[in-house]
């Protein structure tokens, strides 16, 4: 699964016809070969004055490091904008950012929850992501892993079996998942927590520092 990174642009002058973002990801300390595979995407015109433009980029959770022969979850994101304006094209400087991750742990002392996701987004809530959480003790090959939840068509069975598997695990339950973003940025973040079994105790909510809320109602700010 990917995460999503919004990149915006504000027209500083009239006459801008279109803006593209050119981008590439490399392992830390490396620079892209722009002639070999890069991404280029058109920013969406969102109107307004001054006119703003936005592209939400689908970002990888890791980048292959050919030099070392491994994948790295922290990498460099290189980009520049190409602007078509008044019958000419020009490009901005090249920017590079360190993409880093933050692991979060939600400690469930009483084993109450059966499903938890981190609900998070870079900057504001413009491009939110749900990252399913799991206690690392939960069997890696189980059909009831959280990453399999959405496409598990018999949800009642999933809820029932996962509940009992979790109940058999020593408490506290330590749910973990990962968020990503550029170093120095802020992430907004909640937890989406569910107790989906037993049926008469079913409960589900988004949690922020001030307690239960709607999605994006109250949230933590994480600094990368």
């Amino acid at each position: 699964m990917s995460w999503y990174y919004p990149k915006g642009w504000t027209d500083q002058e009239d006459g801008v016809e279109q803006v593209l973002i050119h981008y590439a990801c490399t392992p830390p300390g490396q620079y892209p070969d722009w002639s070999w595979g890069h991404g280029s995407r058109v920013l969406e015109d969102r109107g307004g004055y001054p006119r703003t433009r936005l592209k939400v980029l689908r970002m990888p959770r890791e980048v292959w490091d050919m030099e070392h022969g491994w994948s790295t979850p922290e990498y460099r994101f290189h980009y520049y904008f190409e602007v078509f304006q008044d019958g000419a094209r020009w490009t901005t400087d090249l920017f590079s950012e360190d993409i880093v991750y933050r692991d979060l742990e939600y400690v469930d002392d009483h084993g109450w929850a059966t499903n938890i996701c981190i609900y998070w987004s870079v900057g504001d809530w413009g491009a939110p992501v749900y990252s399913p959480m799991e206690d690392p003790r939960f069997p890696a090959d189980s059909e009831f892993r959280s990453t399999r939840y959405y496409s598990y068509w018999d949800k009642d069975r999933f809820h029932h079996d996962k509940f009992h598997m979790l109940q058999a695990m020593e408490r506290p339950h330590r749910w973990q998942a990962r968020m990503y973003g550029p170093r120095g940025a802020t992430l907004v973040q909640q937890y989406h927590i569910g107790r989906m079994h037993p049926p008469e105790e079913k409960d589900e909510f988004w949690l922020g520092p001030d307690g239960r809320s709607a999605p994006g109602g109250n949230w933590w700010v994480q600094h990368l």
Binding site: M1, S2, Y4, E17, Q18, L20, H22, Y23, A24, C25, T26, W34, S35, W36, G37, H38, G39, S40, R41, V42, L43, E44, V56, L57, R58, M59, P60, E62, V63, W64, M66, G69, S71, Y75, F77, E82, F84, G87, A88, R89, T91, W125, G126, P128, V129, Y130, R145, T147, R148, Y150, S151, W153, K155, H192, K202, D203, E204, W206, A214, P215
Partner: protein, 225 residues
Amino acid sequence: MSELTAGAAGARHAGADHLFGLRKTWWDPAPGIEMVQIHFAWTPPDGEPDWESAESRVMTPGELSRLRTAVLEVPRELDGSREYLLHHFFYVVRGTEWVSSPVFTEEVVTREVTWTDETGDWTHVGIGWGVSPGAPGLAAPNYTAAAMDGLTFEDAGAGAPPEPSPIHEFVRAQPLPHVFRGLVWGPRGADVRYVVHLVRAGSPRPEEDAEAWEDNGGAGWTITL
């Protein structure tokens, strides 16, 4: 697949993919819906999606309506083929109730758009295009750098290059008219609206470099996939 091949494939997947954006919409049938996700995956024809490694996006609502949208970023090529299957379903939460939609499978196909430059004024032609799920303004914008007939090193399905390639002399050497061909993508049966981007770059006299848009009087052109 060797480790190196897998790694290279991983690297391409990591940040160097050629993608296009396809907007999907969801209309809340009632107030109080708290979350709508779209889960999506692509496979070769006849393939079954691996939902565990599928992508997902949160469908975010507009300020004044129950219309939620998300732009799916999907590949222009899968296993060497530009046509493949795109599968998606919606997962919706309202209170403590949830519902999953059926899985929808669409055939992603391409169509070629051509542009003929009778006078040889332009060195590069781009196609600005998008597939709208409803109102024209909902189309996610995409760009294809068209390939000129006779220039065998160009690819009709490429995204925008890092900069216009220095091919002014190659272009001038080709007989007129110059025919440019670019590909557009989308679900079979969908309408694609496009405009044409004309670029003259690498001129011997740089002040003669220019770019312009042909958009059929603002309406663009439409083809059906």
